[in-house]
Subunit: 424 residues, 2 copies
Amino acid sequence: MLLKDMSVNELENVLKDEKKKYDDFKKDGLKLDISRGKPSRDQLELVMPLLDEVTSDTKFPDGYRNYGMLEGISELKKIFADILETDPESIIIGGSSSLNLMYDQIQRCMQFGVLGGKPWNKYGKIKFLCPVPGYDRHFAITEHFGIEMIAVPMDEHGPIMDIVETLVKEDETIKGIWCVPKYSNPTGITYSDEVVDRLASMETKADDFRIFWDNAYVIHDLYDDKSDSLKNIFTALREFGNEDRAYVFTSTAKITFPGAGVSCIAASENNKKDILSHMQFQTICNNKIVQYMHALYLKDLDNTKYIMRRHAEISRPKFEAVLASLRCGLDGLGIADWTEPNGGYFISFNVLDGCAKKVWTLCKEAGLTITTAGATYPYGIDDRDANIRIAPTFTTSAELDVACELFVCCVKIACIEKLLFEKK
Amino acid sequence: MLLKDMSVNELENVLKDEKKKYDDFKKDGLKLDISRGKPSRDQLELVMPLLDEVTSDTKFPDGYRNYGMLEGISELKKIFADILETDPESIIIGGSSSLNLMYDQIQRCMQFGVLGGKPWNKYGKIKFLCPVPGYDRHFAITEHFGIEMIAVPMDEHGPIMDIVETLVKEDETIKGIWCVPKYSNPTGITYSDEVVDRLASMETKADDFRIFWDNAYVIHDLYDDKSDSLKNIFTALREFGNEDRAYVFTSTAKITFPGAGVSCIAASENNKKDILSHMQFQTICNNKIVQYMHALYLKDLDNTKYIMRRHAEISRPKFEAVLASLRCGLDGLGIADWTEPNGGYFISFNVLDGCAKKVWTLCKEAGLTITTAGATYPYGIDDRDANIRIAPTFTTSAELDVACELFVCCVKIACIEKLLFEKK
């Protein structure tokens, strides 16, 4: 039965039950966290053999242990290129953080401009399109540089392209768009071929408009028998003669170790030359011993996918547990919906408008940390106050069950209180 | 006998001999490089046990293998703090490159200003003081950001402070100074206590003036029985109430692996807070597995110094060989002088004015790469065309002997040709 069709009396009874449950949870003094997309301890254990790949007996190729090779080592460029379905020549390997590469790329555009063009700093104001809900750290970078963020709604195919196209066609100060095109953070959806094509082909008023294509979950499938496929952005861009439009990022943060993997940026010949023309002053090279360790461990695309399947064996049951809890606790009540992704690290959950912050507070007070309500929107403002990002991977399965039960309970309380308020 | 006192005839005879030697070198098809401060293969072998410190059996402290800890792990902060004679609280650990930290720090000052002050980008023009001869990569960063470089001569005590003080007192647009205070690149000198005190105490017109204190060779002694000591910049700054004036950098590039070590920035509480307020958007953390590996390997300051002594056992004979060659080939001729450093990676060599480029070309044409003449000066302009940086460490001892012989020969040819030109 839909909660909104219940009488005040019925709602009050349900509320009473849920509040009792909630108080019991509170007494347990829980300390649970489903807020960030972090691999679990089991996943970290899985990839420990990475650390045996280089030892004092390792024969390193010439130059790998000394200064040099700004772009990184060829073995790993090849693996990244295969993962991103592009050419090793397009790859620059970074440090452990692709976020760092993105931040630095924005900073380069601000300071030096794109391909010798006017530095973005020299505009009175520039703007970025931010498909929502999206990745809070993207928005944080943008805000930090004083770039105005324009939220663009997404559906199951990606950002609503009618809106994107209209905006970028008219406004020269719109310089970029953030995209997590596969298993999007947090919705888990993958951009349709049409969306990729329209992003690649659309007319932009700014000739230095850039797509920040954060392909963080490129091979991060949860299932063997169903996975999303994403149209190759490089192919699409070439098709439409816009090969310089995108910077593509990925990393092994969720393949090997978060914060201790390797990252890369893939770019057209022009973009790469432009990036290196600045990067050459920033550093002599990134850590090639870590790169070589990764090249030896990952071996090739096939083996990397094999490692990802083993990660999925650990993460999949957690996603399934969350989804089962949500279904069991909330199906048919008409107060929430959520995504059921085939990969990535998140489930995006929408509660009745005006209830997300309340859910967050209730969870927090009972010892469950969920992503701050609104965090998935620019400036932390979710106009509907509805979206909550759930990250199932980090906790143990046992903890996750408790977390989900508590979460469902908080959702019900917040929604019933809202419905009661409206009915009274 | 001083060459300048020789007759034209005598000079022509010496020149003939040297040219014959030179032609013989040329025939050998040499490929030698004494241009960059890179550790040798033997030094890389020395530190290979670093790579055995973490394996799949390592029990990592909680959180070391996952996202988090932007400032780095406490064990390594302690070691860096001891190396730099400061408090672990002042340390932020970076990636593998301290140059990267310096570049990023300049970029942050340009983009965001210092401690909330006016961004350096917002000045029409800013300037940096560049003690000369100095480190070409510092100058390259400065030039890349369009910062005007003012060369300040150095003597054996550091930059000539009368000049520095006069300049910074008058000009608000002078925002910083590059310093390699110990075993300076390339002169090998160490700043005197008086220079450190005067840098720490001097009146600066700009309240956001910053010393970029690149303490790259802080424990890089060549001898057990003689080493330079550098006054602690933090102490000096505190003494004069200017604790926010310096950013201090170092790395293990020449302790463990160049390009694959760990770096750090040490700063006052205000500066550190300021840095982190931006850095928090740039990355979640640096590679803590690499940090932990280093903490386990270096252990503490004493053990790190022990490792440095073993490096010195490899490098010292090379420095001594170069110095012996220079003495043997050039002493008493009045055409060159050079430094005899107690540590670091370089010997700074001055030839007769107007001859450095010629020496460089002669060396190059015979297969010996030396640092580009002028590279040790802002904009690559050595007004006297006299300074050449020699980096003895990278080549094998056998190669180094040949390189030195050839170098001496080139110096003689260039100088005699100059003297002959003047005499005729």
